[in-house]
């Protein structure tokens, strides 16, 4: 478990929880990233701006983290572009069907003790576990 980072994980998680709480207080809805994304495709113009602004904030927020911690961390992706495309299509398709992802079902849904979200989270964690186990062996 040499890569385990309990302190930054817990505190980073709490910061995400804080973002969820502020969003619930100001917008009155769950801060599920896929839900916010899917809303772009309902073609209601007056509901566009804040969603795009949220995504810009998401990118800038991570950039601010990098600025304040000296850019020494990188991220690693090992997949070929083809696998990234397949993975992206599946993630997008999956979230569109029920409008939920790790933040929507995993954080907001479980907080509400929503049976749909608890089941969805359990299933997608299991599916990811099986997928990783298979892909690491191949």
């Amino acid at each position: 478990m040499e890569n385990f980072t309990p302190i930054s994980s817990l505190s980073g998680g709490a910061i995400i929880g804080l973002a969820v709480a502020i969003f619930l207080y100001t917008h009155g809805r769950p801060a599920g990233v896929s839900g916010i994304l899917i809303g772009l495709f309902t073609w209601q113009k007056r509901d566009y701006a804040w969603r795009i602004i949220f995504f810009i904030g998401l990118i800038l927020g991570t950039l601010i983290y990098r600025l304040s911690f000296g850019f020494d961390e990188t991220i690693s992706m090992y997949e070929s572009p083809i696998l990234l495309i397949i993975s992206g299509l599946l993630v997008g398709l999956g979230t569109a069907f029920s409008g939920g992802c790790t933040s929507g079902h995993g954080v907001c849904g479980i907080s509400r003790l929503s049976p749909r979200s608890i089941i969805a989270t359990g299933i997608f964690i299991l599916a990811a576990l099986i997928t990783v186990t298979i892909t690491l062996r191949v």
Binding site: M1, P6, G12, G13, I15, I16, G17, A19, V20, A21, I22, F23, L24, Y25, T26, H27, G28, A31, V33, L37, F41, W50, I53, F54, G57, L58, I59, L60, G61, T62, L63, I64, R66, E73, T74, I75, M77, I85, S87, G88, L89, L90, V91, G92, G94, S98, C101, S103, V107, C108, I110, R112, A120, I123, F124, I125, A127, A128, I130, T131
Partner: protein, 143 residues
């Protein structure tokens, strides 16, 4: 206006949290699902940290009259467990397991400036659009 400002703030805080927790790094996600000696439980700790705050938020905030910048709360009340939900979760989980990217971290990882993340986010948006078209035209169902 208030809605846009708060969306920006929430995005900034959320993105910072994804950076600090390193969830923006697909390697951390794959590490969580790789049950070997190199197992990395970090993802579970991120969930615990987030849930500790959001659980309280969802318990008390919806009791106020109305959200600050909106007329009413829009919290999904659906309770139906159906094929669509299960299928969604399986498709999502397989996609997540292939790359280690889910929507939030994928978008926030654009800040690292790698071409790969752009490929992923582009495909994810296409997938979401395709899913939305399928639901609207071929799979009408009450949830």
């Amino acid at each position: 206006m208030g809605k846009n400002v708060s969306a920006l703030c929430v995005g900034l805080i959320f993105g910072f949290g994804l950076g600090l927790s390193q969830m923006v790094n697909p390697e951390k996600i794959i590490g969580f699902f790789n049950l070997s000696d190199a197992w990395d439980p970090s993802l579970a700790f991120v969930m615990i940290g987030a849930l500790a705050i959001s659980f309280i938020a969802f318990r008390y905030i919806p009791k106020i009259k109305k959200p600050l910048f909106s007329n009413n709360f829009e919290i999904p009340e659906g309770k139906i467990i159906n094929t669509k939900l299960i299928l969604e979760a399986i498709i999502f989980g397989v996609g997540w397991g292939i790359s280690g990217f889910c929507p939030g971290p994928a978008i926030s990882s654009i800040s690292y400036g790698y071409f790969e993340t752009i490929i992923f986010v582009g495909s994810m948006i296409m997938g979401a659009l395709l899913g939305k078209i399928i639901i609207n035209n071929f799979w009408k169902e009450k949830t």
